[in-house]
Amino acid sequence: MIINGVCIDDTFAEAFPMKATRAIITAQNEKWAMICAQAMTGFATSVIACGCEGAIERVLDPSETPDGRPGVAIMIFAMGGKGLAKQLETRAGQCVLTSPTSALFSGIDGGIRIPLGKNLRYFGDGFQVSKQISGKRYWRIPVMDGEFLTEATTGQVDAIGGGNFLVLAESQPQALAACEAAIDEMRKIPNVIMPFPGGVVRSGSKVGSKYKALGASTNDAFCPTLKGMTKTDLSHEIESVMEIVIDGLTKEDIDKAMRVGIQAVCDLGAKNGIKRISAGNYGGKLGPFHFHLQEIMA
């Protein structure tokens, strides 16, 4: 399959079941809501070493937030419910409770309820106040800038992590420009996050390593500087490869995000140095969710 001169490989991305949640952060203005959201989703690029994958889903208009202030929706994904709850609580405590003027609300009404501010209330040292409004419990925790308002719980749902595609380009600036264009479009899709820095990964990995201590190592088949040294997957004109990883609530959400992302890359086309779109997988043996590139773009 070729779109605008870009070859779409006959391959698939392999993804895994995860648990996910969403939280809504509000603040006095968008600047502080964003600072708080960035702190809460910091160091959350990959479950391999961060314990979770998290990112900002989108900026919310004041009319969309529970308290009518500017807000940001963030999503966090983890391999299990226990790990997710731990990450959520730790991050809420260290990054949202501490952030000036912030408030924290549930972003998923259904699902299994996991603590959001339920245990943070103890920070109030007995001065915390509970309010049950329209069936939801809130905690008002006295803090030095006034009062930190948080919903007690948020919803945990089944989700999918590890959807991906690779952008193969003639130069590093062209690969990055294409990925930026893709991320701009993918951020408009609800229920997905791209957890890596700016949504883009430059160090895709393969399973295993020559070093016993490591479970993963650089994906040498896609490293352009190793074209003459290893069993490469790159043709001679490819000078840079970047990857976009997508976590989403459903397969359809990830499908949609991959479609708009790949389309944005293809819109730049061969004339902008984009040569191929490929995807990372483990032969289909590890992850139950397969995202076939050509099917998605058909």
């Binding site: 308290d67 509970s130 329209s134």
Partner: protein, 270 residues
Amino acid sequence: MSALTFTLKYKPAQRVDLSPLVCHQLADLSLADIGAILLQSGKLKLRVDELFIIEGSDTQDIVINNSADNLDFIGKELDGGRISVNGDAGAYLAFGLKSGEIKVSGNVGLYAACEMKKGYLEVSGNAGDFLGAALPGNKMGMKGGTILIKGNVGERAGDHMRRGNILIEGNAGDYCGSRMTAGTIAVMGQTGRYLGYAMRRGTLLLWNQPNLSASFNDCGAHTLAFLPILFASFKSLNSRFADASIGFNRVQRYAGDMSEMGRGEVLVKL
């Protein structure tokens, strides 16, 4: 199906206990069976059809017409369904209400919504003393749900209240929120003496500056984030509380009652 309607034929000389006439207890009964139910009135037992003209069939939608202030225990422990009272209601209206909705067009007597658990009570007129309170000797008053009073309320509103909302468009009498354990009482009008007497926790939300006891301490002026959410939850009510323009988030906060636990608060609109 039309609402099951009880129209009072005459105002009885004695008080009448209407507690059997609730939706869940009438569910499978014919009109004849309902007419044969006996109601306690002083020492007498009166048949329902002796007191009321009975019409309609929907037992989940009960209407009481020509209601009088000596009809007690209307909607006692109602568990689902709706009761509309046209006229006044006596004491213990919505006693122990579990779920469902009760609306009264007139005034209601003592102990309305006493020990209410959940559901919704709306009174277009005034309410007597001990609204949403606990029975004498009991420690737990209203435990959930919402009460809306469009008129004034008597003394001791929310006595021993534990959870839920009491919304009063008019004035509240003395000892409003006394011995509260938690919950919210909002009063748009004036409040009487001894506001929040011995309250432990809970919120008294006021539009007008009260005459506070010395055992309430001023915590200063604050902008509180939960207030817009609280006001937003009133949007669906048939009330001035639903009007977006009456909401506020800037309040003077007083903590008390310091002679008790002292974790309660009186929030006064600034």
